[in-house]
Symmetry: C2
Subunit: 479 residues, 2 copies
Amino acid sequence: MAEKKQVEQITSRDVDFAQWYTDIVKNADLVDYSSVKGCMIIRPYGYAIWENIQSIMDRRFKETGHQNVYMPMFIPESLLNKEKEHVEGFAPEVAWVTHGGSEPLTERLCVRPTSETLFCEHFAKIINSYRDLPVLYNQWCSVVRWEKTTRPFLRTREFLWQEGHTMHATAEDARNETLQMLNIYADVCEHDLAMPVVKGPKTPSDKFAGAEDTYAIEALMHDGKALQAGTSHYFGDGFAKAFDITYKSKDNVDVYPHQTSWGTTTRLIGAIIMTHGDDNGLVLPPAVAPIQVVIVPVAQHKEGVLDRAHALYNELKDAGIRVHIDDSDNSPGWKFAQYEMKGVPVRIELGPRDIEAGKCVIGTRHNLEKSDASLDGIVETVKEKLEEVRQGLYDIAIENRKKHTYDCTTLDEINKALEENGDGFVRAMWCGNEECEDGVKAATGVGSRCIPFDQEVLSDKCVCCGKPAKKLVYWGKAY
Amino acid sequence: MAEKKQVEQITSRDVDFAQWYTDIVKNADLVDYSSVKGCMIIRPYGYAIWENIQSIMDRRFKETGHQNVYMPMFIPESLLNKEKEHVEGFAPEVAWVTHGGSEPLTERLCVRPTSETLFCEHFAKIINSYRDLPVLYNQWCSVVRWEKTTRPFLRTREFLWQEGHTMHATAEDARNETLQMLNIYADVCEHDLAMPVVKGPKTPSDKFAGAEDTYAIEALMHDGKALQAGTSHYFGDGFAKAFDITYKSKDNVDVYPHQTSWGTTTRLIGAIIMTHGDDNGLVLPPAVAPIQVVIVPVAQHKEGVLDRAHALYNELKDAGIRVHIDDSDNSPGWKFAQYEMKGVPVRIELGPRDIEAGKCVIGTRHNLEKSDASLDGIVETVKEKLEEVRQGLYDIAIENRKKHTYDCTTLDEINKALEENGDGFVRAMWCGNEECEDGVKAATGVGSRCIPFDQEVLSDKCVCCGKPAKKLVYWGKAY
């Protein structure tokens, strides 16, 4: 299939993290650049990861009663302008369509940066009675935000995402939905992506344009920087009022419904890379790995090797495992490096002596360990190994986060912790004033990430102004 | 769940087909209009049909070795201009992005109307050796063509589709791929959508912009108009030359690879409506029906009815059948009308007397027949009924096509056949000249649809000019 190309040495993760990331994205065949500045081509291996994420998320959405829809990709300027805070947040970074064919448009259209306005226009038509609520919609699509600086998966002018948009009879229902979806995101990240996250509201200055409350899940990357991996917003009835969406209550009174939206994006692939990758390349959590197990026949020219390897392939495939066999004429050593670069969680080596002994060699990507395993009951062994990788990845990530989470009570402590131990999550108390949020950032370089649900009291004083503290906040440098 | 709204009477199919279509699209909750002119909102029930079509197609693509990717939605003007015929075909109908935020772009970008140019730019980078071939890619996305007149699903400014793009070492390989994908489309249409199609090349005047050959599947709608349901193109090496894509052969010679592309769209939903729908609403082929079976409890307030209905629901659901139970307080009659409008293939009614007798009433949507069925072995019965609906729909469609296919040897015969029997497929011989193609259309109103693979000789003379005929052609009025 593939030409025998050299598996290139990538930059060491600890030497230059940014270059290491770029090397992985390229060498694991995840992405290619195009002549469309700031946009990425997602190659088959990268897209297959996204399809697996989609499939897991979509199942969770449907299990909780959500339905998929598709809204137009364009938003007329007048529609975008309907909710004041929302348009102020997004107008500076949208792409404008001004011509259809050779004709100028009478009203310019923006390419959707997010679709609250389109959903609201539709909700106004389909919501009439309390019986119509809740409306629980989601869509999978691409959106465009005209970013100045871009990096594959992390920040691109076009990206793929899902955006959930829901309407509820009461504020309480909408708040529950907001948290339910945040919890689903956290659960998928922690379990399926083996990536620990901190959950909680953003500070008021960091809310989504038009939202009353924005909640986020924040993950710590291997380099100690924070990445926002998903957000869930509670809108109250602000958009409902702007778009004149009302429903008749049981008592026949016109009421504004309460709204949420929530989203995750292809950025999650960037998060996977930066949480689990190492100097040999990508390391993929089994739940989203396009190839969960690769079989590498050894001395495959010898009689019976390929036959037995293919029998093994079929056995694993029939068990629902995503398995690949590489019987190309590349050397086993080349293949090992290749599938390590691609982050395949489990590798099976099978040679003539193994076959004779009724065994194979099975290796796990996250710790590069290998051991013998009987070919009898190999399906169970593989499943155990996949779970071992998942748990192993999670443990490593938790360990890294522990090592790079610093409890601080003064700005000096923050600077000292960052200087001595490198970037990480800073946990410190906050009085609730935006000036102090800015003050922390100016003095130390870390910004507020979220106000964790799991509150503790590290001190009774704000880390910045020394006045009474209200909340424990996670601070960090952000992607 | 839903408010008790009247199931509205729709326009009769034979009175006003266009209005009937619009009524179904609206009353079956498939689509809503938005303030974005010419674009549609695909509602949950419509989108679920698309998801089912996607799932069937995607499995077929992957089984034949294709991989999904994602290309940017924008194409720089200079890139679109690279292949002359292609840009001439598409430039008049593209939407142009001219501004990012408040800044004018240095080069305007079109929103992709199709992605040959983007794929070719990428192919030039990833194809180097004969070992890299074939490259078999597909993407699911939305595309934009600035149409003047639009109708939901049939012709909209934005629509959802899949576009396959492949590169091959030889012309023969590429031609085989072109036909393989055409055959997969035909197979999905005939089997899963129960919609008979005619397969064959388009005439040269009707080829895709930049293609050497365009093949299509053509279906006859209930009103006798033809609908192009999918196309597959053979490009030769024209784009490869324009984009400087070459590979080293085994003999180390630089060779241009040969290319294909192929696509199907949300238009297929329009085809389903117009092939199978009737005066009671939509009729869905079971393979793509979001709800395959609806259970309507009768006298559900009586003891044991809802329990038994839910047990039946679980039994069918566990068997992998897409089943819905409507235990709302709407009347059974309202429910019957509602699920007929939505085209649910099989309906089960279950009341106290049925339960006592260990049976239910099972009805099929395509012929509105119903009969008793034992609750023992109901899963098998339902599966048989679903297959009965599929086969029944196909038979009705074939019958309609037979009735509205006219073999003609003169222009007068064409006009007479259309006048006496209504619109339909005209089968008539053609000399191969574009003037005669135009001549037939001018004299009779029917245009060439395709040159069927199944050739017959109806006459040795061209139906238009009377000179020696080369091919049997299907003619029709097109959507």
